[in-house]
Amino acid sequence: MSAITMRELTKVYPNGVRALDALDLEIADGEFFALLGPSGCGKTTLLRTIAGLETASGGRVHIGERDVTALPPGRRDVAMVFQDYALFPHMTVQDNIAYPLRIKKVDRRARADKAAETADELGLGALLQRRPGQLSGGQQQRVALARAMACHPQVFLLDEPLSNLDARLRLEARTFLKRLQRELGVTTVFVTHDQAEALALADRIAVMEGGRIRQVGTPTEVFRRPANTFVAGFIGSTPMNLVDAEVRDGELVVAGTRLPVPEGVQVTDGEKLTYGVRPEYLDHTAEPASGGLRGRVVVVENLGSFSLVSLDLQPADAPAGDTPGTSVQVVVPEGREPAPGDTGWVVPRPGRSLLYRDGELVTPTATPAVPAARTAAGAEQ
């Protein structure tokens, strides 16, 4: 049992910066957990506080049944892989991997055996006598992982595990990491600022901002139903479209277009809300469509198999320039891209748009009929 439980965890630095603000978080045994957020959001501080490299100013950290809040890092039974891997340059790969065992006074023979065994598991068997300087970035990372694995800790902590690798290697390492974590089944927490990395790797994600957790959930939950506009804007390779909306006669008015209020949302007339929909869940048509937002195409970005099209919204029933600066982005499959300057309509797919009141999600958890929505959208075009 090595779940990690944090209760009202607070970290205030001597200069007054509140890096963690009374965090409550539970990470299940064997879970691959991501701490995601922009720089300065406290994610690294949280990881380091779990490791014991930072002392909490308040609150408790439990690993399994043990309260480790006051324990030094060496006695928490955690292993950390640093962003720069922190391999000791004067030691061979074997000595690096066996280093934690050496500190634990395991005898030389057993150390060498364990290092060789761990290295074999990670495909480093032929490199045992090399020094870190003679290894590639990917190999160095695996040595750092092997060093973390060698002493069978209860928890792995990874600080930006993929950021020091070049783009191609990063994908490879991502798959490798996920597979390794699944095989080992050890509770693993990693920090990243890259939402794609978090979505791809993690079983669950905590999205952080300003020392607080803004949402915890599976990648699907965080992607489909961001709990607030911050998460909505942060998650997704293209951020969610967030457009001002107003309630009029029981309907939503978004950039001059009337849209139905999602089921289960209580609204009052005249209320101002934020209407959110992902570019992936919008369909672009060149013909006027009912329930579609009208706009002028300003930018078309080719992203390979699809293009990202930006439109400045131009309400049909209002003079141009009524809602200046309101623009939406829509994903258009290849071959159907409009040209800049064209007028187009974007139609939100049913069940995929979200409403935010004061930045917080109000659309209730109604499981959207995903396949139905897709076929319907496809048939329209």
Binding site: A51, G52, L53, P72, P73, G74, R75, V78, A79, M80, F82, Q83, D84, A86, F88, P89, H90, Y99, P100, I103, K104, R147, C151
Partner: protein
């Protein structure tokens, strides 16, 4: 589509070929470069090489400060050297010098300097600046001033130390002359080691120390496995410099004058006494040359250790 990048050889063609007159980066040419070097070389020759050669020459003569031998020095071969090596006073002086170097430089300055640098490594702000300020002060004050301060501190009657400890009448400079000058030189020279190690410690990656901490390593294990391997080059360079400086340091003369009974007579003091007080310039020059050889050996040992580091790294 046609490639828009230029073929690789085109870029090279455009560059000015470094040929003929100016093979150097600055484009001076050999003659002008030599012109710039000459004044410096002349000064080095005049004030460094010539005196050194002159010392070697004097070492094989019976040249004296005064008297007949001052007017007509005679070459006496290796007499001065055999005399020095059989001289009890020279040998005891050599032993004292080694004690002085080991005690005040290697253990004192390097040890204390490292300890202060390590203790202050994560500190910023007034405490660090205060400590650094005091340590530096001891380094930048003139020797004569510092010597006077230490005599005032260690004086038997009315010395500050005795007053502080409440043991008037303890004659530190008479009873413990070597200890006194070792402590004095440690105090005086720690600043250099401290600054050098402080800079070196900045180079030790935080993540390496934290990896060791996460493995459960204590302070000594962190020093052994992470810090020292990383700053080994700095340590050796520092030891080389302070060993040579301490070996040739004359400041203890200002405090104990080599006494009492030559018990703090390190080699620079011995040479001074023999050559200038005793007037035996030839003999003094011979001892100076022996000192130079010892310095050379010390330097070679350290440099060899530094070189070995580069091979393994």
């Amino acid at each position: 589509m046609a490639p828009v990048t230029s073929p690789p050889d085109q870029a090279v063609k455009g560059r000015r070929r470094a040929t003929g007159a100016a093979p150097d980066a600055a484009g001076l040419g050999r003659a002008r470069a030599t012109g710039f070097l000459v004044p410096g070389m002349v000064l080095i020759l005049l004030f460094l090489v010539v005196p050194a050669a002159w010392t070697i020459y004097l070492g094989v003569t019976n040249y004296r400060l005064t008297g007949l031998a001052a007017a007509n020095p005679e070459v006496v071969g290796l007499d001065n050297y055999t005399r020095a090596l059989t001289d009890e006073r020279f040998r005891s002086s050599l032993v004292l010098t080694l004690q002085f170097v080991l005690g005040s430089a290697v253990i004192g300055q390097a040890g204390l300097g490292f300890a202060i640098a390590y203790a202050l490594r994560d500190r910023r702000g007034p405490l660090r600046r205060l400590v650094e300020g005091f340590v530096l002060l001891s380094w930048i004050l003139p020797s004569s001033v510092v010597a006077f301060l230490w005599i005032a501190l260690l004086d038997r009657d009315g010395g500050t130390l005795n007053a502080l400890l409440g043991i008037p009448g303890t004659a530190w400079l008479l009873d413990h002359p070597m200890l006194s000058i070792i402590v004095f030189n440690t105090w005086r020279g720690t600043a250099f080691s401290m600054m050098l190690y402080a800079a070196a410690l900045e180079n030790v990656p935080r993540s390496h120390l934290e990896t060791a901490r996460l493995a459960g390593a204590g302070t000594w294990q962190q020093l052994r496995d992470v810090v020292f391997p990383r700053i080994r080059g700095h340590v050796l360079t520092n030891l080389l410099l302070i060993s040579l400086w301490t070996f040739n340091d004359f400041a203890p003369f200002l405090i104990t004058a080599g006494g009492p009974e030559q018990r703090s007579e390190i080699l620079p003091v011995y040479v001074y006494k023999v050559a200038l007080s005793g007037g035996e310039l030839g003999f003094g020059a011979a001892i100076s040359f022996v000192m130079l050889l010892i310095n050379l050996v010390i330097a070679l040992v350290y440099l060899r250790m530094l070189g070995r580091r580069k091979e393994t790294a």
